[in-house]
């Protein structure tokens, strides 16, 4: 007994027992089912999501009765009519869409050189610094970061103090559209850099040297070689940034000073301020629709980028 114990560590015997147990409850010829079984949680999640969407769809067809604060029993398209006709929602939707596009464009323009330097620099110290600077914001939530901007950009904030030193009167930097877009760009930048960097890593440095030897200066090398080859990364990053910006809530709420609502803020208002779940559901569904359309449009124009996966060839 003693010798057996030393020969086989107890962990081995536990594993043996477990394996034997596993073999009885899960015969080997069932193993083909394993991949499907592992898929089950994901399918379940997606299923729940679909159920939720159906529920929201149902709610969106009912109006709120403000004498009982219950949703109507019968179905009606009144919420959709409101969503399409009330200028408030058109204004908010236009603001969100335009904002998402501007934020995406600026973010990509900023993210690209950042990712490029990070990937291409020959200095490990610089790369490390850029990586840390990139990841640090991830540990600071979006809301906290937005509050940071309130402190920095406020009338008595650091920026205005600095401007005061050179004799500039304090100015309102917050609570307007540019402030919201600024906050969003700052929030999205790490996502974009992380999506673009792998695409740049995949471009052999030799290609750029080759373009140079073939007569292209850095600008033409960038436009004819680097940019086209980085397109999958840029498309992927653009998709992520455009959808996250379009659906953002906290930045417009905190940096917008109440007058720069995005679609998500309008939805929040319906659910939590006016208790009108019907209209809230309608707006939510329309946000899903607009987002899907936008993504579809990007897919059509630029391909699915790094999100295409599979065996797609560029």
């Amino acid at each position: 007994m003693q010798s057996a114990r030393t020969a086989y560590p107890v962990t081995w015997r536990i594993m043996d027992a477990l394996e034997a147990f596993a073999a009885t409850v899960w015969p080997a010829n069932w193993t083909r089912a394993v991949p499907y079984l592992m898929l089950a949680p994901a399918v379940l999640l997606v299923g729940l999501l679909v159920l939720g969407l159906i529920q929201i769809g149902d709610t969106s067809l009912r109006t709120l009765d403000t004498s009982t604060f219950l949703l109507s029993e019968e179905y009606t398209l009144a919420n959709y009519q409101r969503a399409f006709t009330e200028p408030l929602f058109a204004a908010v939707a236009a603001r969100s869409l335009l904002g998402a596009l501007i934020v995406t464009a600026i973010t990509l323009v900023f993210a690209f050189p950042y990712a490029y330097v990070m990937v291409r620099t020959s200095s490990p110290a610089l790369r490390k610094f850029l990586l840390i600077a990139l990841f640090l914001p991830f540990f600071i939530g979006q809301v906290v970061r937005a509050y940071g901007w309130l402190i920095i950009l406020g009338n008595q904030g650091m920026v205005n103090e600095a401007l005061g030193l050179v004799g500039v009167e304090p100015m309102r930097l917050l609570y307007n559209y540019p402030a919201v877009l600024f906050g969003l760009v700052q929030y999205m930048l790490p996502f974009a850099v992380l999506m673009v960097a792998p695409a740049l890593t995949a471009i052999p440095e030799e290609l750029e040297a080759a373009a140079g030897s073939l007569g292209a200066d850095w600008l033409r090398t960038f436009f004819h070689v680097v940019l086209p080859l980085a397109r999958p990364g840029l498309t992927g990053a653009g998709l992520v940034v455009v959808t996250l910006s379009l659906t953002d809530f906290a930045m417009p709420a905190i940096l917008g000073g109440g007058s720069q609502d995005f679609i998500a803020n309008a939805i929040y208002d319906q659910f939590f301020r006016t208790s009108d779940q019907g209209l809230g559901a309608t707006l939510a569904l329309m946000l899903v629709a607009v987002g899907s359309l936008l993504v579809g449009l990007i897919f059509t124009l630029f391909g699915a980028g790094t999100l295409a996966m599979g065996r797609a060839r560029e």
């Binding site: 030799e206 140079g212 007569g215 292209a216 060839r313």
Partner: protein, 384 residues
């Protein structure tokens, strides 16, 4: 292999053609280490030069300096008589074929070839014709619309060559583009390079670690080691008259015999190994030997004859008895390793192309060679 060219012949060739590339005393230092040290050479227009050396010898660095991807720490590089130190790569008229080809994967073969023309703002109407002409040159007529990943390795090589040549550069640089190919394709492409280079007469610098490639394709070979140019000469001369032990060892199958120089008479050196002696000739006439100095003699495997019976080697100037320690059958020949007790147990490799099943491991044999074939080098000079 080419005909032997004399020094005079080489000088004549240089004299008849203007110099295309001059490297003047160029050094490149990374982190205090010399990747290239005091390199100097001239390359006449139209010649095919190969820079040969092991990895880390500085050959690729030298090529990149010429291409302009890096700036030399010291020295000057002239192309067609003008210093290009301050000229960025895209303004130098240099076509380059890269180690991994560096073809643009998002373009077709024709677009790749057209790229340098577009970048150099060639008249757009003339581009298609030029592209077709160069695709024809590399025997890829009709393949222009293929994507790069739809081409075989050899076809990709050809696209890379066409792309490097289509804008008619002053200089073609080849950065070991054949290294990744299998032997058969590599040898085919070597000849292809040679053909195209001759057809166009473009001055070419090729970098490789493959001595066979260097011998086959080049007009001239520079052998580099530890960042230093060891020898620059025509292939046959490099092979037959290596300037030092390193060159001798890097090209061909070379045996080395150690010893001390005991006496000098003209070019002839008598070298002692313990009790016995052997004879050779001074390998580098520019570098005289001193009596008593440690030296090494280099002799090619194919210059040694082997026989079981010593009498068969009558006429060979040197003859030594030895024991066969290994016999390697290589098809067209057998390589014997023979231990020579009277030369300090030196292992000699010998080729035998004759009927060869008569000698076995452990047999006592005789090796014979002509003392004039043993090149004696100062042990300190060159790096083995």
């Amino acid at each position: 292999m080419h005909d032997a060219t004399t020094d005079a012949g080489a000088r004549e060739a240089q004299g008849s053609q203007p110099v295309a590339v001059s490297v003047l005393d160029v050094s490149m230092v990374y982190d205090g280490v010399h990747a290239v040290r005091d390199a100097s050479f001239d390359l006449p227009r139209g010649r095919f030069l190969t820079i040969l050396g092991p990895s880390g010898s500085g050959k690729t660095t030298l090529l990149r300096l010429i291409a302009g991807f890096q700036k030399p720490t010291k020295g000057d590089i002239l192309i067609n008589g003008t210093s290009v130190n301050a000229v960025p790569p895209h303004k130098r008229s240099i076509g380059m074929v890269f180690q991994r080809l560096a073809l643009f994967p998002h373009m077709t073969a024709a677009e790749n070839v057209a790229f340098p023309l577009k970048m150099r703002r060639t008249d757009a109407r003339k581009i298609p014709e030029r592209v077709d002409r160069y695709l024809d040159l590399v025997k890829l007529g009709g393949f222009g619309q293929r994507r790069i990943h739809e081409l075989s390795g050899g076809q990709q090589q050809r696209v890379a060559i066409a792309r490097a040549l289509v804008f008619e550069p002053d200089l073609l640089l080849l950065d070991e583009p054949l290294a990744a190919l299998d032997r058969k394709l590599r040898e085919e492409m070597q000849l292809e390079f040679r053909r195209i280079q001759r057809e166009l007469g473009v001055t070419t610098i090729n970098v490789t670690h493959d001595q066979r490639e260097a011998l086959v394709v080049s007009d001239e070979i520079i052998v580099m080691d530890h960042g230093v140019i060891q020898q620059k000469a025509e292939p046959s001369r490099t092979y037959r008259s290596p300037r030092n032990a390193f060159v001798a060892s890097f090209i061909g199958v070379t045996n080395f015999i150690a010893g001390d120089a005991r006496s000098l008479a003209g070019d002839t050196v008598v070298v002692g190994v313990g009790e016995s002696e052997w004879t050779g000739v001074i390998g580098d006439k520019a570098c005289p030997l001193n009596v008593g100095a440690p030296v090494r003699g280099a002799i090619r495997a194919e210059q040694i004859r082997i026989a079981r019976d010593g009498r068969a080697l009558e006429g060979a100037g040197s003859r030594h008895a030895g024991i066969v320690s290994d016999a390697i059958f290589e098809g067209e020949r057998v390589v014997y390793e023979v231990r020579l007790p009277d030369l300090g147990d030196t292992l000699m490799r010998v080729f035998d192309h004759g009927p060869h099943d008569t000698i076995a491991v452990g047999d006592e044999v005789y090796l014979g060679w002509n003392p004039d074939d043993v090149l004696v080098f100062d042990d300190e000079a060159g790096h083995p």
